[in-house]
Structures are given as C-alpha cells and as structure tokens.
C-alpha cells in the first residue's frame, strides 16, 4: 500500500515523474487561466457595490490561496523530510519556497491596489494583511536559512524546522477575518452552503483558482528537477539521464 510513497524517495523516479507531468500541467494551467481571465474581465457582470474593481479578485484570491497552499506544501514536505529522512521531500520543500514567496507578493500588492478604492488606503495594519505579510517574511526566512549553511543537509533541516514552526500562521491568516475585527471581507467561495457569489462571477474565479494550482504544480515540477539534479549530480543515474 505504501509502495507509491517509498517510490517518491527515489531521485530518478521523482525526476522522471516531474518531467513527464510538467507539459500537461502547463497546458491545462494555460487553458484554465486564459478562460478565467477572459470570462472574469470581459463577461462577468460588475459587482453591485464594488463595480468593476471587484475584478481584482480574479488574480488576488488565487494568489492568496496559493500563498497558503505553497507554504503548507513546504512545511509538510519539510516535516516528511525530517521524520523519514527523505532527501526528495527536502528538495520539494526547497522548490516550493520561491514560488510561494512570489505569489505572496502578488497577493499583497493586488490586495493593496484593491484596498485603495474600497477602504481609502493602500495599507492598514489589519489582521489579515499583517499575517499575510508575516507569511512573506517566513518565506524569506526559510529560503535564507537554507542558503546560510555550507552543508546542504543541515540547511534543509533548519529550513524545515522554521517552515514547520511558521505553519501556525496559515490558520491565523485563514481565520483572521472571523477571529478579529477586520477591514478584509469574509470568505466568499469557501463558505459552507452557498458561496456568496453569483455563478457568472464564480466560474471564472474557480477557473483561475484551478489554473493557478496547475501552474504551481508545473513550476514546482520544473524547479524540483533542478533541485534533484543539484543534489544528485554525482549519481550514476544522472550520467545516464544526461547521455540519453
């Protein structure tokens, strides 16, 4: 039953799977993002309160969601690397960090640009905004810590520990709008029962969420191949793979 899990510890298997998945993930991501952007920007009706400014949601929400997902991926794979001493889990954790950081920047900047017309300010020390900013610092911390060690194995362990400690920030970000008074609006899509959005606005948003997730998968696979090669460059299978 656990054979698939143990196969993921094999560098040549991971490299092969990542290179096979990349083009398909990129293709489907491109289709989903193109549909989401065209439908969301050109065909979805304007919001009755926010007008056309609400269309920022089509890049802001997927970026924010992905910033949490990438961090969770990084922390879980870091934990797997620490517990089972699987080098490939650390490689996955290292590959996820820069992608997650870039989407956190996107979420913060688009949120700020959305906040100006809606709240009258680009920035407020609001629980949601502040915890998302802390997430960005955590990403930078994890990447810096990994790079700070000469011994990559020690760098991996230190980065994994920080990622695991920092994962406490993920539920704080998600529930901040419920736990504290916040300028930020509450959940729109992930509400139990009926989402607080009309279907004509919701479908492009779901397509963008799916597209960003698939894109994350594609870029993660590409970075993972680089990570595997960097860690395994002396291995005989790398010689065979390059010759082929």
């Amino acid at each position: 039953m656990w054979t698939w899990f143990y196969r993921l510890a094999s560098p040549p298997y991971v490299y092969r799977v990542a290179s096979a998945f990349t083009p398909w993930l990129l293709l489907t991501a491109g289709i989903a993002i193109a549909y989401g952007l065209i439908d969301g920007l050109a065909f979805a009706p304007p919001d009755y309160q926010q007008g056309d400014a609400f269309r920022i949601v089509y890049v802001h929400a997927p970026a924010a969601w992905l910033s949490l997902f990438a961090y969770t991926t990084m922390a879980v794979s870091g934990a797997i690397g620490l517990i089972w001493r699987i080098k490939m889990a650390h490689a996955l954790s290292a590959a996820a960090a820069p992608i997650g950081a870039s989407f956190t920047i996107l979420a913060l900047v688009t949120g700020s640009l959305w906040g100006r017309p809606m709240w009258g300010t680009y920035w407020a020390w609001d629980p949601r905004l502040t915890s998302e900013l802390i997430l960005l610092f955590l990403y930078f911390g994890v990447m810096s810590l990994r790079a700070a060690f000469e011994d990559p194995a020690r760098g991996d362990r230190a980065a994994a520990l920080l990622a695991i400690v920092g994962v406490v920030n993920v539920p704080i970000i998600h529930f901040s709008v419920q736990w504290w008074n916040s300028l930020h609006q509450g959940a729109t899509v992930a509400k139990f029962g009926k989402p607080a959005m009309d279907a004509s606005m919701l479908w492009p948003l779901l397509a963008m969420l799916l597209g960003f997730m698939l894109f994350f998968g594609a870029v993660l696979c590409m970075r993972l191949q680089g990570e595997v090669l960097n860690r395994e460059r002396q291995a005989s299978w790398v010689r065979e793979a390059i010759k082929a």
């Binding site: 007008g51 269309r55 970026a63 992608i99 870039s102 688009t110 090669l229 960097n230 390059i242």
Partner: protein, 57 residues
C-alpha cells in the same frame, strides 16, 4: 460591454490593470526562473560528469 468601457473598467482601470499586469509578470517570472534553474542544474551536472571522467582517465 464596449471596448472603451472594457479598458476603463468603470473608472477603476488604474487599479485593475496593474493587478492583471503584475499577475502576468509573476507567472512569466516563475516560468523563466524555473527553466533557468533547471538549465543551470543540468549544466552543473554535465560539468561534474566531465570532471569525473577526466579525473578517471
């Protein structure tokens, strides 16, 4: 929606379009940097193999 109305975004163009542009930049940057990272790793691996080969001979 007319073409002019589409670009005007109901008066919110200066907020909406920079967000879309930044999203596209981030997507392209991610693709470019991941490809570059992979290509550099390949080069390093090839160099390591060449060096190992020359040492052996």
């Amino acid at each position: 929606m007319s073409v002019g109305g589409f670009w005007a975004m109901g008066g919110y163009a200066r907020f909406v379009w920079p967000c879309i542009a930044l999203a596209i930049v981030i997507l392209i940057w991610n693709l470019w940097s991941a490809r570059r990272y992979h290509a550099q790793a390949l080069k390093r691996a090839e160099r390591a193999i060449l060096m190992a080969g020359s040492k052996a001979s």
